[in-house]
Structures are given as C-alpha cells and as structure tokens.
C-alpha cells in the first residue's frame, strides 16, 4: 500500500466531507480499509460536531413485542418462533399489551417501540387495536411501531397497498416507524440470511410510502454476517438515495450481529474496531441523515461511549427492562439507567440531551444532581483534570 498516496486520498475525502459533498462508493470502501482508524474516526467526529456539537441524544422508551410467532426464518434471529404452538412462542392479548403500559403509567416514558414477528393468522385489526388502546391509555405517548417488513407482510396478506396499510395504522395511532428489517440490502447476502422476507426494494418502497404520508422513520443495517464491505457501502448508498428523495429518515442505526442462539453461531461477532469503524464510515457516507445511533445494549456501554468520538450522537433510550450495570448505593433500576446514561455521556465530555422520538429536546443536562445521585461533573475533565466524580449521597 502506498502510504503517501493514501494520505493524499484521505485528505481529498476530508475536503469533500468538510464541503458536505456526497462521498462515492470508492470513498466509502477506502475509509473502511484505511489503516489509520483514528483519522477516520476524527473526521467522523468533526462531522458529528459540525451537526450536533457536543449534544448526545437519548430517549426514555420501552419495548413491546406483542408476538414472536413468525413465518420468516431469518438465520440471524434468536427471537422468532415459527409456529404459534412452538415452545416459547407467545402472542399477547390486547389486554396484555395494554398491561405493559399500565405497569409504567407513572414513569416518564415518551415512546413505545413495537415490533413483532410475522404472525400467520392475526388480523390487521389486532395491530390497529394495539395502537388504538395504547393511545387511549396515554394520548401523549409516541408510538413507533412496525417495521417495513411487517408492513410489507400486512400488505401482501390483506391484499392492500403499503399506503393503505400505513394510512389505516396511522389513523389508529401510529406516529413513526422503526428502521428494522433492512438487514443488508445486497441480494446475495439477503438470500443467505433471510430468504422470503421483504427484499431491498420492497423495504425501501414501504419507507418511501411512509415518508410520503408524513411518517418519519429510522433505518438500520445489520452487519457482521455474510456481507462484504462493498455490500455495506451499497446498503448505505441506497438509504442515502431514498433520503435524498424524501428526507424522511431521522436516524441510521448500524446493528452489530450477535451470534447467540441462532443458526449463524460459527461467525465471529463484529467487535471493537469494526464497530467503531462502521459508525465512523456511516457518519461520513450518510451526509444527509441527521443522526447516527449506537445501541449501547448491543455493543456494550464501553464501546458505545467511545463511539461518541467516532460519529455517533445518539445512544438510544433507557430501555427499562434491560438490566444496566450497577452502581454501588443503587437507587431504583429505572433511575439508575438514566443516571448511568447521563454519566457515561458526561465522562465522554459530551452533553446529554433527552429527546422525544422526533428529536424535540425535552431536557438538557446542566451538570446537576440526578435522582438523588450527584454526578460531580459540573467541572469537565478538560478544565479541572479530575475526571468526573460521582458520589452516592
């Protein structure tokens, strides 16, 4: 490899980034293989700071998965059960779905994230009722529901257009859509991973239809399975093209593949360096998508924290049912999750901002105590050199 030539090429790419020009596929591949990981990270960080400064977003949400019964047999999935009567298969009644929210009525949750398996028999009304009943309980809560794969499945199953399905769901209370089911767009990889599921064009068409109805959506990429680096770049470019058309994507979420309890167990998981590089390259390639999100639940809080210097500006929600690493002198798990999230953002020298689903800012960290726990970071490390101090009162 010619080092001088590479350095010059990197500098040209950096110029394009600074001018907010779109990078091409070759640029993306170059960034993926450029030996100086930190230079790529620093460039992504520059872009992230140009867009958001030190702001690091999170929201307070929880997940409901009303059913895990699924007709699709995706190789990377540990969640789905193929038949309604398979062991550990479940389908909640509408009352059970409502109970999930009733259990949290006193919590400051602003969003419910709802994703399902592709159930063999359930009528569309089931999905509409879920939305309607949840909205009835708390009209202010934002319902981010059903992936493009589900919408595509509904459309086929009930003989409707995407727009018809989406309009009915919107009418029932759907506010926005999660970005799941994109996996990796390349046909070659998709055939190996999730044959029979909505393909790339279908996935993109659902999102296009949603954007046209004013439904904002997220987008994802599953990486670390059988795809090549070229296929990752291709995936990003297809998302970028749709975004150029509609502007409806809010956030891109790279999803590192996890090999537990699924049929791809022999693959080594993507780890530290690959995760960081993927965040950085995403930030640089997707110049027209505002936010890059790291799911700290998936990559671990340590890597998530470092990702804030590699292009990431969003750390997802405080997922209530996840057990977050525990501090001495613990308060409630819910309070801790928020404190821990804010703490790790402060430690990384950033400013935590609680957002709603549409990135309206609800709360900005002022460095004060949280829920009875003093996070003594009002003096950032950069001026006092004392690190962030945290004392449990």
């Amino acid at each position: 490899m010619n080092r001088t030539k590479d350095t010059a090429r990197f500098a040209r790419i950096a110029d394009k980034v600074r001018a907010n020009e779109a990078l091409d596929a070759d640029d993306g591949l170059f960034l993926y293989t450029y030996p100086d990981l930190l230079a790529v990270g620093a460039l992504a960080n520059e872009r992230r700071e140009a867009l958001h400064g030190d702001k690091t977003f999170f929201n307070v949400n929880f997940h409901i998965n009303p059913t895990n019964v699924c007709v699709a047999d995706c190789k990377f999935c540990s969640f789905a059960r193929l038949e309604p009567d398979a062991p550990a298969a479940y389908t909640m009644s509408i009352d059970e779905v409502k109970q999930k929210l009733l259990d949290r009525m006193d919590q400051p949750v602003t969003e419910i994230h709802i994703v399902n398996g592709l159930h063999h028999h359930l009528p569309l009304d089931y999905y509409k009722d879920c939305l309607r009943e949840l909205k009835a309980l708390r009209p202010d809560i934002h319902l981010k529901a059903y992936t493009a794969v589900e919408i595509h499945y509904f459309a086929e199953k009930y003989g409707m257009s995407y727009t018809q399905v989406l309009s009915e769901l919107k009418e029932a209370g759907l506010d926005s859509m999660p970005g799941g089911g994109a996996e990796i767009f390349a046909e070659r990889a998709r055939r190996k991973l999730c044959r029979g599921k909505a393909d790339a064009d279908e996935w993109l068409a659902v999102h296009r239809a949603a954007h046209e109805l004013g439904i904002r959506t997220n987008c994802t990429m599953l990486y670390g399975t059988v795809e090549t680096l070229e296929e990752r770049i291709d995936h990003m470019l297809r998302l970028r093209d749709l975004q150029a058309e509609t502007g409806g994507f809010q956030t891109f979420i790279p999803l590192a593949f996890h090999a537990d309890n699924n049929s791809l167990q022999k693959l080594p998981p993507p780890t530290g360096v690959d995760n960081l590089r993927t965040y950085a390259v995403s930030r640089l390639m997707l110049h027209n998508i505002a936010h890059i999100k790291a799911y700290w639940i998936m990559i671990g809080i340590k890597t998530a924290q470092i990702s804030l210097s590699f292009g990431v500006d969003d750390l997802d929600g405080t997922v209530q049912e996840e057990k977050i690493y525990h501090m001495a002198g613990a308060e409630t798990p819910q309070a801790l999750s928020r404190v821990d999230l804010v703490r790790l953002i402060r430690e990384a020298g950033r400013v935590a901002v609680e957002r709603d689903t549409l990135y309206n800012e609800r709360w900005t960290d002022d460095g004060e105590a949280l829920d009875g726990i003093r996070i003594d970071a009002s003096l950032p490390y950069s001026t006092q050199g004392q690190g962030v101090r945290l004392n449990v009162l």
């Binding site: 990981l37 230079a39 530290g272 430690e347 101090r389």
Partner: protein, 684 residues
C-alpha cells in the same frame, strides 16, 4: 527575633501544641523546644508553640480545641476519627517496650486485680485486649501515678488478700522488670500474638490545620533529634531525674541504658508495618467491644486520616511553569511527543487536561508505530496464581483479601499439590510463566518463598514472575532484612522478574486514602530500583479511579519515567480503571473506557523510555482491548489461565490464545507470542 504570639491568639500558622514529657516523647519535641532550631516559617514565625502535659491531658486538650496539635495516645483516636495524623512519625515498639509493663509477684494468669498506675488510655486498652484474648478478667482498679508498684510490692502473699498486679507505664516503669518475679511487657506480648509492631502514640491534629510544611518539619525534627541528640537527651533526662529528688531517682538507669532505649527499643516511625500494627490494635479492641468508633461501619477496618506531605520539587516546578505567562499548546506538545521527544511534567498535565481523545490517540498511535514499526502485537501465555488470600493490609479497594484474624475459614494458602496441578496445567496449555502474587500473609516468611521457588525450578520449566513490591516489603519487614537482601535471596532461589502491582497511584496522599497500610510511594520505587539493580526486570502499573487529579496521574508517570532513566528495568506499563464492585471503597470516580483510553495514550506519550504498553482487557473487555491498540498499546497482555483479584470485583473477561489472536487481527495487527522480557516465542 521576637515572637509576639500569645497562647490565646496565635498567628494563624503557629500551631498550639501539647506533648508529653516522658523520655520516649523527647526525641519528637526536643528540636521543637530548641530556641535556635525550632522550625519556623519563611517569615520567621514559629511553626509550633509547645506546652508539655500528661498523655491523657494532651488528648483532652486537642478534643477541646485548646491546642491544634498534640502527641496523643492512639487509644484516644477511637473517639476522634476526624483527627488528622502526621504520617511517618509515631512512638512504638516491635517487641519489648520496657515502659509499659504489668508486674506481679504471682503469675499474671492467676492475678485477680490489676492496679492501673497512671496509665494512658492506649496502654489500658492494650492490656484489656491482651487479657480478653487470653481469656482473663481480673478486676481493674485505677490508682494514682506512682503508687502501683508499692501496692504490689506490699501485698501480702499469705493468701489473705487478692493476688494483685500493677500496670506501670512511662518512666516509672524503667527497671520494674528486674524487681518482680512476674512481668508482662505489653510490647512483647503484643508482638507474640500478632507479629506486628505496637504504636502507642502519634501526632494528631484538628482537621485542616496541618500543612505539608508542618508535616515535614515534624518529620525532620524527629530525624534531627534522634540522629544527633539521643545521648544528650538521655543525659539531660537522667540529670533532671537525679536533681528532682523524686523516689524514682534512686533507681535511675545509666545514660547508656536510656540512650539505647531511645535508639533501639522505641521505634519512632509510622510506616507500613506500624500502620498495620496500629489498625490491628484498634480492630482487636473493637472486636472485643472495648471501643466503638463513631461513624465506622462494623465491617470496615479503622481508617486513619493522614495529613498530606510536601509536594516534590518537580511538581512545584511544573506548577510554577503552568502559572507562568508562556502558554502551552496542545498541538505542539502532541507533535513533539508523537515524534518521541521528551515532554515535561507541566506539558504532560496540560495534555491530560486539555487534549481531545482522538488527538491523544493519534499521537500515541504514531509514537507506538515509531517504537514498534512492524505491525505486530504481542501477548504472553501465563497463569496468575494467587498463593494466599490472607492479607494484613486491608486495602479498601480490594475484594480479594481475607484478614489473618478471619474466623470463617475463608482464607487459604495453596499447598504444593495444588500449585503443582496449576503449574502442570499451565505447561500443558503452552504457558511459559507463572505470575505469582498473593496477600501479605504474616505466617509466610522468606524461607517459605525460597523453598517454593526452588521447588518450582526443580520441577517445572516455568519462569517465575513473582511477588509485587508490596509483598517484597512485607517479607523484608517480617524478616527484618533489607529489601535488597530479600530480593537477592529470592533471585538466588529462582525468581526471574517482578510484576508491577501494588502501585495503584504512586502518591502518598491518594494511598493514605485508599490503602493506608500498604507500602508508600518511596518504598514501592525502592523495591523496583533494587530489583533492577540485581538484574531483574519488572513491569509497572497504574490503577486510576480513586479521585486522583491530573497531577497525581502525571506524577505517577513521572516517578516511573525518572526511575526508568536510572535503571532501564521496566519492560512495560499497564494501566486500568479501579474495579469497585463489592469493595469497601465508597468513593466513585470516572472509571470509564473513555478515560482509560485517554490515560493510556498520555502514558504512551509521557513514558518515552518504556518500550511496551499493555492493554488491560481483563478489566475493560476485548472490544476496548482492540481499540486500545490504536491508543498507544502494542501488547495484549496475557492469556490469563486464571485470575482471582479483579474478577472478584466485577471484571469477568476470559479469553483463550485463539480469541486473543483474533482480536489482535481485528485491530489490524499480527499476533506474536512473547516472554516476559518481550522476546518472541514461537507458538507450538
């Protein structure tokens, strides 16, 4: 020179001091009372204004705020854990003390009543602890100072009265041992039971009044008096005694005997082992429910607040530079450091405080590539064997140790059979070395280690990367040998190199807070200096996350760099964040991965003379381990076949050689097995 200060209105920096006039206290106050040599501030103001008083009175005066600093019996500390103690100075003994004795005409075990003759709280408490542990409970009767001996001497031996004894302390106790058939020297008794020194008194101050200058002055006053004036103090004491016409005058000892008492019997230090003895004493008193320390959790050992000492010159210079007008520039410093140029302490602190993570990383990565141009990352296969978990130091940040007094059977010392099994497994897994570390177990002397090392070398091909400085110091102390002698003998028995553990933060202010009974900064460095001098290499470590400042971190690195300039004996540096789960250390600090990468990158740049930087994946996980290879590190540490210490405090990562190699490759390097000295080993 005029000193206008009055006792009621002292100048703010003149401390009002109360001290006892016993002979054994004189070396501590002799210089303070010397009109010519009494320590003064730069403007001539005296640092201390000393009034002499009885021991118990000193403590009362300090508690009442009638003085700022006092020489107090350690027993009084139980009521005032807020007092700050002067580090390094105390009055104690290791074995016989001569001046705290119980005398009787009957064997002490048979005694029914003990007169407490003018005794201090410390000595009464010590007697009670020893009686409690011996299962004895005679009646204790306080009497006036000076009458105890007579009461025992005059007691009838015909069985008509109780069998009596007297606890006699201070100067009145000189020679008592020779006048009675049955004597308990409490220093001896304590040493027999614990193997530890006893500390009777120390300088304690109201919180916040002591400055480093005061601390240094008190330490120097002790050194000066003992160094030059022990004989003069002894003579002066004897002359006074003879002139006083007191009853004791007739029994005065020789000048030489008093001097020997000052020079040999009494120990005026308050270093690691004395601190251990001190805490053991207070803990045993607490266990026997003789004292109760306010605000202290029953599970926690006694914590003693030591006052801070003076800043080293290099730090003073760095502070001066930072407050000077010439501005420092992050980019310029980074560029120089990345090119391998030396940066000074002020610059290091400035980088740590101001440089962005990514900029630090890029500079550290450049420097790493300059030192190790081949794209190779090394690792070693060894096994961490913790031969014992008994430990006397009770570090608050440790979740591994069991105190020697533990009665729940949680402690262990591995047998040779157990060790042989572990060693054989290590060899079978391709391991080439044992990292042998353990607690500070008072039962294990030098011969234990010599035997263990010889046995290892006779039966296995493994290298012994053994015993951190903390353990070496412990062995030296229990054997009363020099550190160098201990190292020489261990080396002769088969020790190859030393791990760099026990360094934590090499700053006595931080150490006093987290591990007051562990070796000091100077002691740690001295062991490394001696080991390197004998041709043994070692690693160096730093654990952060104890609320240390940038200065503490950079001073740690400065101390390592400076010793490395001298000896060249450090092979590698490893840093990691404190693992807090389940430990008794309640403070919480930033121990994030973000800070870890910053610290490691700064270390790579500052330690320009240490070749290798190891990542600490056992505490941070393999993902951050990978990333850390881009922040200055060139070594992936060890395939730890076993680890017991951080894994009891929340770090649970384990990896095989194959996994380690995979992570090294994912980070863009080729893996290479190595020895402790960083020689290459071909994988078999």
């Amino acid at each position: 020179m005029t000193t206008e200060t009055t006792p009621s209105q002292p100048s703010p920096t003149t401390l009002r001091v109360q001290a006892v006039s016993f002979l054994n206290a004189r070396p501590l106050i002799h210089t303070l009372l010397d009109p010519k040599h009494a320590p003064r501030h730069a403007d001539g103001t005296p640092m201390f204004e000393v009034v002499e008083a009885l021991p118990s009175r000193c403590a009362d005066a300090l508690a009442a705020g009638e003085c700022d600093l006092a020489l107090v019996p350690v027993g009084a500390y139980a009521d005032h854990p807020e007092w700050e103690v002067v580090p390094g100075v105390g009055i104690g003994c290791r074995g016989a003390v001569d001046t705290v004795v119980v005398c009787s005409r009957w064997p002490i075990e048979e005694v029914e009543r003990v007169y407490l003759d003018g005794a201090s709280r410390s000595s009464i408490l010590l007697l009670k602890v020893l009686l409690h542990e011996a299962g004895l409970s005679p009646e204790l009767v306080p009497v006036d100072h000076g009458v105890g001996e007579g009461l025992v001497a005059d007691a009838s031996t015909d069985g008509s009265g109780p069998k009596v004894a007297a606890l006699i302390i201070g100067d009145a106790a000189f020679g008592v041992a020779g006048r009675f058939e049955h004597v308990w020297d409490l220093g001896t008794k304590w040493f027999e039971r614990t193997g530890l020194p006893m500390v009777f008194a120390f300088w304690a101050a109201r919180p916040g009044v002591l400055t480093p200058a005061h601390v240094t002055a008190l330490q120097k006053a002790r050194d000066r008096s003992l160094g030059k004036y022990a004989e003069a103090i002894a003579k002066h004491y004897r002359d006074e005694l003879l002139a006083s016409g007191e009853p004791g005058a007739a029994q005065a000892l020789s000048e030489q005997a008093y001097a020997t008492y000052l020079r040999k019997t009494i120990r005026y230090g308050l270093e690691t082992q004395q601190r251990e003895g001190l805490v053991e004493y207070l803990d045993r008193a607490r266990e026997a429910e003789l004292i109760d320390i306010p605000g202290l959790h029953p599970e926690d050992p006694v914590h003693i607040h030591f006052a801070g000492e003076a800043a080293p010159e290099v730090l003073v210079a760095a502070r001066r530079r930072r407050s000077s007008r010439s501005p420092l520039d992050v980019d310029a410093i980074l560029a120089r450091a990345a090119a391998g140029e030396r940066i000074d302490l002020a610059e290091g602190i400035y980088l740590y405080e101001n440089a962005e993570l990514m900029a630090l990383g890029e500079a550290a990565d450049q420097r790493r590539a300059q030192l190790h141009p081949e794209p190779i990352v090394t690792y070693i296969i060894d096994r961490n064997v913790n031969y014992t978990n008994y430990c006397v130091t009770r570090c608050k940040f440790c979740n591994f140790y069991v105190p020697p007094t533990d009665k729940q059977g949680r402690g262990y010392v591995l047998s040779k059979e157990q060790l042989a099994k572990k060693f054989r497994e290590t060899e079978a897994l391709g391991g080439i070395q044992i990292l042998l570390q353990g607690g500070l177990n008072p039962e294990l002397g030098l011969d234990y280690y010599e035997d263990l090392f010889r046995w290892t070398k006779q039966n296995f091909t493994l290298k012994l990367h053994a015993l951190s400085p903390t353990e070496i110091i412990h062995i030296a102390q229990i054997e009363e040998l020099s550190v160098e002698e201990v190292l020489r003998r261990l080396q002769a028995a088969g020790m190859d190199s030393l791990p760099g553990g026990g360094a934590e933060i090499l700053d006595d202010e931080i150490r006093a807070r987290i591990s007051p009974f562990k070796n000091s900064t100077a002691e740690w460095l001295e062991v490394m200096r001696a080991a390197h001098g004998l041709g043994m290499r070692s690693s160096a470590t730093m654990v952060f996350g104890f609320q240390e400042t940038a200065e503490h971190i950079l001073m740690h690195l400065e101390r390592l760099r400076s010793l490395q300039d001298e000896t060249g004996g450090f092979t590698a540096f490893i840093t990691w964040p404190f693992q807090a789960d389940g430990t008794r250390l309640k403070l919480r600090d930033d121990t994030s991965a973000f800070r870890y990468l910053r610290v490691q990158a700064v270390a790579r740049l500052y330690l320009d003379n240490i070749d290798n930087i190891q990542v600490s994946w056992p505490t941070l996980g393999p993902e951050i381990g990978e990333i850390a290879l881009r922040f200055g590190a060139n070594d992936f540490g060890s395939v730890m076949i076993e680890e017991n210490v951080v894994s009891t405090a929340g770090a649970h990562f384990m990896m095989t050689a194959k996994e380690i190699e995979s992570h090294i490759r994912l980070a863009g390097f080729e893996p290479q097995r190595r020895t402790m000295q960083y020689g290459r080993v071909e994988a078999s």
